[in-house]
């Protein structure tokens, strides 16, 4: 058999690399901007388009899907070609994939500040962009499987299993979490409501971390670390065990994001149990990575790429040890909704994803340009300032999280809340937020230094766009069919499609067992007779609440703790959310929970608070929302929104869509009149009136109910 000559496509790798750098700088700069808004609200530049609630999703989407996303594709396109000894299946598909992905990111950069959001965390993009993501993901899949099919290496190395699991699971997660009913070009309602919507979202949210931030990076680690260290992976057996148990267990752990909420208890317990088990496969990966460097630690001292890899693996180990601990109910009760979670996430994001990406970039860019790195000294500077940045970020955030979590729960000897005013707990941690932004700035300086260093490297040489390679072709018939060769895993290593189907089955099991009972067994979401659909004005107000991203700072779920029922009121029941498309429970309390805010303050208080939060709460870090008075409420959408809700099973009267705007006007006039009596002149057709109506409705269905609610509802 003759050696076949072919070339590797390095241009696509380079393009994804440049995109990683550009979006990394942009995404992290937005992160720094919102971090500063948390101690200086005026940093929102006085514009609705740069206010925290709208651009916090821009930061998360930019760093996850733009920075990490492009880094994944860079790593996959480089390693896949070499592990399979084949050029990518189609240069055209590679280009469509690259430009399609960048267009999706640009559409996010435009639509998120404009307030087009579904409000599902890390899935904020509206339905037309969801469709585009699906199409581009399919292009990526076809290109990857096409390459696998035309490969010249029979067996699929462990890195490729991780890539296949990533492809198939992200596809499932994205589709299931994007079941939305469109009502206009950029607005839709989730098909799921309340508790079910929460379960789907956090099944998605948790597994986006698992299959976008973890599995592709583990695949990259299994390829690039042995390359950098010049020795094979410590234990291939461990990688098989690690891979299958990781993808099997991860998918179950989502409900740990919903502990103490109204999600059925058995689902919460299942989430906790599997989260604790998850520590084993996660550490399996970390140990396998670190032990690959055994006997090569002298190289780590000299080679900056390996330094980045060691910190990345250590951060992965810390984050995956902390994750299971945080899922224990007792710890979660304190940590959830605080900066502790922000610290946890950033140890993973800055340490694991960031540093692994930097290591790969420093290793890969000089190789595809056949040159040396422009400045090793500058790369060393990046390593140290980046590490310092992580410390300055994480330590203050842990401190802030512990402080605030404990302050929320503290009682006086007389049995009263020690800090009944939520704002007191916010003001306490402001210095920590200042320190955190310094940490973020240090990290960003490192990234800018790297961008300069790599740009100089690229400019100093010419890209080897088509790198020559040669390999023996694969023959169709295998003569050697020894019993060992028929072993199931060796068969899977040769059969990519079967491998994909098997991975799909593995990841579907967990999702199905958790979701099916909640969707099919009526008793899991008990209804409450006094809970009624939102009025037309409240529904419009709710959509403004979604547009402004209020959910980024305010939760809407009171947990059954005395410290919470004292502060907020009756704890939240599953039956209260049955008309909430989407649910708005939130995941962070930068401000207080709002589920029982209805009727707590006057309309005038809400008006003044929205116009200038510090007038009602001196020292508040909430930004003012003057545009809500300037902008007229768009009532042309009311009828279609009501019809959409009817389609989703919300029991509005037949033909209510025709009457909805009349009702809306009556309720708005009433609020405007009440404001007028309090010396506030505002037209009833303004957005602020709708948002006040919604806030005043929150949590009042149960307050209105004279009958006691059984504890199981």
């Amino acid at each position: 058999m003759q050696l076949e000559k072919f070339t590797y496509d390095n241009k696509i790798v380079r393009n994804f690399g440049i995109a990683t750098l550009v979006w990394g700088v942009i995404g992290m700069t937005v992160g720094l901007l919102i971090a500063m808004q948390l101690f200086k609200p005026a940093m929102n530049l006085g514009s609705q388009y740069t206010t925290f609630g709208r651009i916090r999703p821009l930061h998360t989407n930019a760093v996850i899907f733009a920075f990490v996303g492009n880094a994944i594709f860079m790593g996959v396109y480089y390693s896949l070609q070499r592990l399979l000894k084949a050029r990518m299946f189609s240069d055209v598909l590679s280009k469509i994939h690259f430009w399609g992905w960048q267009l999706i990111i640009i559409s996010a950069v435009i639509t998120l500040p404009l307030g087009f959001t579904t409000s599902h965390e890390y899935a904020e993009l509206e339905w037309p962009i969801d469709i585009a993501i699906t199409l581009i993901w399919v292009v990526f899949g076809v290109n990857m499987f096409g390459t696998i099919i035309k490969r010249r290496e029979r067996h699929l190395y462990v890195a490729i299993w991780f890539y296949i699991a990533t492809f198939v699971t992200i596809a499932v997660l994205h589709i299931v979490n994007s079941f939305e009913l469109p009502i206009s070009f950029m607005k839709s309602y989730y098909v799921y409501a309340g508790v079910q919507d929460a379960l789907v979202q956090w099944w998605y949210g948790h597994n986006a971390v698992a299959f976008f931030l973890t599995t592709p990076y583990l695949g990259m680690m299994y390829y690039f670390l042995p390359k950098m260290a010049g020795r094979p992976v410590y234990s291939y057996k461990l990688s098989i065990l690690h891979f299958w148990s990781l993808i099997f267990i991860y998918i179950w752990a989502g409900p740990h994001h919903l502990l103490y909420t109204s999600l059925p208890g058995w689902a919460q317990s299942l989430g906790v149990a599997f989260s604790i088990m998850l520590i084993a496969p996660s550490w399996g990966g970390m140990i396998n990575g670190l032990l690959t460097l055994r006997g090569a630690w002298d190289k780590v001292r000299e080679d900056v790429t390996l330094k980045f890899m060691v910190v990345a693996l250590t951060a992965y180990g810390m984050a995956t040890f902390e994750g299971p601990l945080l899922s224990l109910k007792q710890i979660n009760g304190v940590a959830h909704f605080t900066d502790w979670i922000v610290a946890h996430v950033h140890v993973g994001a800055l340490g694991w994803n960031g540093f692994l990406t930097f290591g790969v970039l420093y290793w890969l860019i000089p190789r595809i340009y056949k040159t040396e790195l422009y400045s090793k000294k500058l790369a060393g500077f990046h390593f140290w300032i980046g590490t310092l940045g992580i410390l300055f970020y994480a330590v203050p955030m842990y401190w802030a999280g512990f402080t605030q979590g404990l302050m929320w729960k503290e009682f006086t000897p007389e049995g009263l809340l020690k800090y009944p005013n939520f704002l007191a707990t916010t003001l306490q941690i402001i210095p920590m937020h200042v320190l955190r932004s310094i940490g973020g700035a240090l990290y960003l300086i490192g990234v800018i230094a790297m961008t300069y260093n790599l740009a100089k490297t690229m400019l100093s040489a010419k890209l080897v766009a088509n790198e020559p390679a040669e390999a023996m072709p694969l023959s169709k018939i295998i003569v050697d069919a020894s019993p060992a060769d028929k072993a199931w895993h060796r068969v899977l290593e040769r059969k990519p499609m079967k491998f994909m189907v098997f991975s799909l089955i593995i990841i579907l099991i967990g999702g199905m067992v958790e979701m099916m009972p909640t969707f099919t067994i009526q008793s899991n979401v008990p209804t409450i007779a006094s809970v009624k659909p939102y009025s037309a004005l409240e529904l419009q107000g709710r959509d403004l609440y979604i547009r402004e991203g209020c959910v980024n700072c305010h939760s809407q779920t009171v947990r059954p703790f005395r410290s919470e029922t004292e502060r907020y009121g009756e704890y939240s029941k599953a039956g209260e959310f049955v008309y909430d498309h989407p649910f708005l429970w939130g995941s962070k309390r930068t401000g207080p929970d709002l589920h029982r805010v209805g009727g707590k303050y006057s309309n005038a208080w809400h008006f003044n608070h929205l116009m200038d939060p510090t007038s009602m709460s001196p020292g508040s870090i909430m930004p003012p929302y003057p545009w809500l008075v300037e902008q007229k409420l768009d009532t042309s959408t009311t009828a279609s929104k009501i019809r959409a809700m009817q389609t989703l099973g919300v029991p509005y009267d037949v033909d209510y869509d025709q009457q909805a705007n009349n009702d809306l006007k009556i309720q708005a006039d009433k609020i405007a009149l009440d404001l007028k009596q309090n010396n506030i002149k505002v037209k009833s057709d303004r957005e602020i009136v709708a948002i006040i109506a919604y806030l005043q409705r929150l949590g009042t269905d149960i307050k209105a109910n004279k009958e006691p609610i059984p504890s199981n509802q």
């Binding site: 065990l241 058995w266 299942l270 149990a273 390999a471 050697d480 060992a484 060796r490």
Partner: protein, 60 residues
């Protein structure tokens, strides 16, 4: 934690079945790993670092 798992009001079957499925799955992978051919492991783990050397298969 364990009290919550014990009192599931009819939902136990899901928890027990899923835990069982996981155990069975884990044991199968474990047994397979113990029996795995050492030579195959060496070939597989060398894949990324020896990518320019083509493995020769005994085929036509």
């Amino acid at each position: 934690m364990f009290n919550q798992i014990k009192d599931l009001a009819g939902g136990e079957i899901y928890l027990i079945t899923s835990l069982l499925m996981f155990m069975v799955f884990f044991v199968i992978v474990g047994i397979y790993l113990i029996k795995l051919n050492q030579k195959h492991i060496e070939v597989m783990s060398a894949l990324p670092i020896e990518e320019n050397q083509t493995e020769v298969y005994e085929e036509d």
